[in-house]
Symmetry: C2
Subunit: 355 residues, 2 copies
């Protein structure tokens, strides 16, 4: 199977806001959606035709889900490998499992990128206090200790200023397998949202410039304040990664702009928060591009028609709703009932002019 | 109640493609949707949190529906007045029932427009062969006999070339109460999609130019090939109608451009097929504008950023899907299982350049 017929069903693993916006994009193409989400009442289920709420360990539920859909994709990368094995027996998974396994593990990811000839921040694997001490000697302080797996929005990380922080840092990440990463002096962080179709074509959205606060993306500005050459390099890097992984779908690539060129910070095998601007900056947004790719359909036109500043609405930011709604900006809310601190409640796309 | 809180629920009467795109727009704003549709498996239900499938005569179902939502709106105008009466006891209906009753009846609509001082095609009420004969004498042939109620996409109409057609025409429309309408020599047909919020502000999208085939809208081109003065007149007419009806929501106004000025052909108290271009031509489209209005939220920015040609996909047109998907155009499909002749299966928005 390469191309899904009209009225086929896309299975989505994970039912958060990314799954929700993927489901909406699928509906735009007349495709049906079945969401698999261990959490009840997530944002995606209400815009999907079907939803299964079951744990990742429920093999029968996974099998029934996989049998009910034509292709399976996912909105986040930390899906247990065992669950994917069950699913793969009954439905194709796009992007493929290699893309997932590479990006699920920071060490594997760095090795993959290095082998591709791409620059990354200095890093070393960490198993315990001893290997952390020698990694620190090699890389130097300050540095960041990051768990190899399950990191997200600044969780599972500890900053190390010197050898005296070793014990506390290991404690903070629960003594999980980790890497130590050197701090990079960068001018700015940008990201590229790239897409690759089943027959190999690659299409990338224009790079956006990201600003984080407290480890969470706060703002993406498009276009990024980089040179044409840097923008071209960023897109080439994304294309290289997509092809090397024989990737199908949308991939987010975060890059540091440094005096020595572009460094790859991390990759995410899915639609990406820093690509939300495409909803109001392009005819075809990242969500539809992903659905088109995993359905085996032709990629769409992701040319930027407008400049956009995307701002996340986090926690209590949504208290300002009326002012934002009246501001002329495009408001995107995820329908979450409770505005907990640090929780992504929605985002705002401010169109700042024609591209 | 004027303004709905975040996470409120919009009730939508009717579950076709317009309801589907309204539901998607509501989800974008974090609002929940409950669809009421007598037909099973319509396009809207799968993107709504709740769906009730029951006949318009089921008072208990209507009451339960109205009690479960915060405001009720509709995607088509031919809802039985009795059903609206039940609903109105439990939830506000927007646009209001006057807008519905005016537009449900071609005679009432013409009278309303005439009283507003707007020009319409010559018309006369028809009850039977006798009144049709005198109407024909007054208006002249050729003319169109149209049922007063339930006309849609060219149904319930018969063309009359002379007195010899009277019997056949009455037969064709089932001897229903009707009007005879004179044929207007027009240069082009345009439409304006206007919106009005709960506190009275009016915002109109740029006029589009419509081309019908076989009584069904085939294509809308934006901008319409009219002068700035004509465009301003068209928008003023829409604003006049919105205010006169104390309207809340989106209204479609079809106009004939004639050497003597603009004539109002008909109004539709809902989002309109000729407004689908706004999905790819404006930051806020007609569907979100309607949801914002009926939720009592501020209207959004409907400025046109791109020129668009919208083309309906009718019946077998969807057989050409792959070529359209690959063309760079924005494809919108309604997920209907069966492509019957004359059935609207989707539409395509071709962005033809910056506005």
């Amino acid at each position: 199977m390469t191309e899904l017929a009209a009225n086929s069903t896309i299975g989505i693993l994970g039912g958060g806001q990314l799954g929700r916006m993927l489901a909406v994009a699928a509906s735009r193409l007349g495709l049906h959606v079945h969401v698999f989400d261990p959490a009840p009442d997530g944002p995606a289920a209400e815009v999907a035709r079907e939803a299964t709420c079951a744990p990742w360990e429920d093999e029968a539920a996974l099998e029934a889900f996989a049998r009910a859909v034509d292709v399976v994709t996912y909105e986040f990368e930390n899906i247990p490998a065992e669950a994917l094995e069950v699913i793969a027996r009954h439905a194709p998974i796009r992007p493929n499992r290699r893309a997932l396994s590479v990006s699920q593990d920071r060490l594997t990811e760095k090795q993959f990128l290095t082998e591709l000839g791409l620059k990354v921040a200095p890093y070393a694997p960490v198993e315990d206090a001893e290997s952390l001490a020698s990694a620190l000697e090699e890389i130097g302080a300050p540095a960041i200790l990051k768990t190899r797996r399950l990191g997200y929005d600044g969780k599972g990380q500890a900053r190390i200023s010197g050898p005296e922080d070793i014990e506390a840092a290991l404690e903070a990440i629960g003594h999980a397998p980790a890497i130590l990463e050197g701090l990079v002096e960068f001018e700015r962080e940008v990201s590229v949202i790239g897409a690759r179709g089943t027959s190999g074509p690659v299409a990338c959205f224009d790079p956006g410039e990201n600003r984080h606060e407290g480890g969470i993306l706060r703002r993406t500005t498009v276009p990024a304040a980089i040179s044409e050459g840097q923008a071209a390099d960023a897109v080439l890097i994304a294309g290289r990664i997509l092809s090397a992984l024989d990737y199908v779908g949308v991939l987010g690539v975060e890059l540091f702009v440094t005096p020595e060129g572009l460094l790859v910070n991390e990759i995410a095998p899915r639609v990406h928060n820093s690509g939300h601007w495409t909803q109001n900056g392009c005819t075809i947004d990242q969500f539809e591009q992903h659905i088109r790719a995993v359905a085996g359909w032709p990629l769409g036109d992701g040319t930027r028609h407008s400049d956009v500043v995307m701002e996340n609405l986090i926690g209590d930011d949504v208290a300002e709703l009326e002012g934002i709604a009246a501001s002329g900006a495009a408001l995107h809310l995820y329908g979450k009932a409770e505005a907990r601190p640090g929780r992504k409640m929605g985002h705002v796309n401010r169109v700042t002019g024609p591209a």
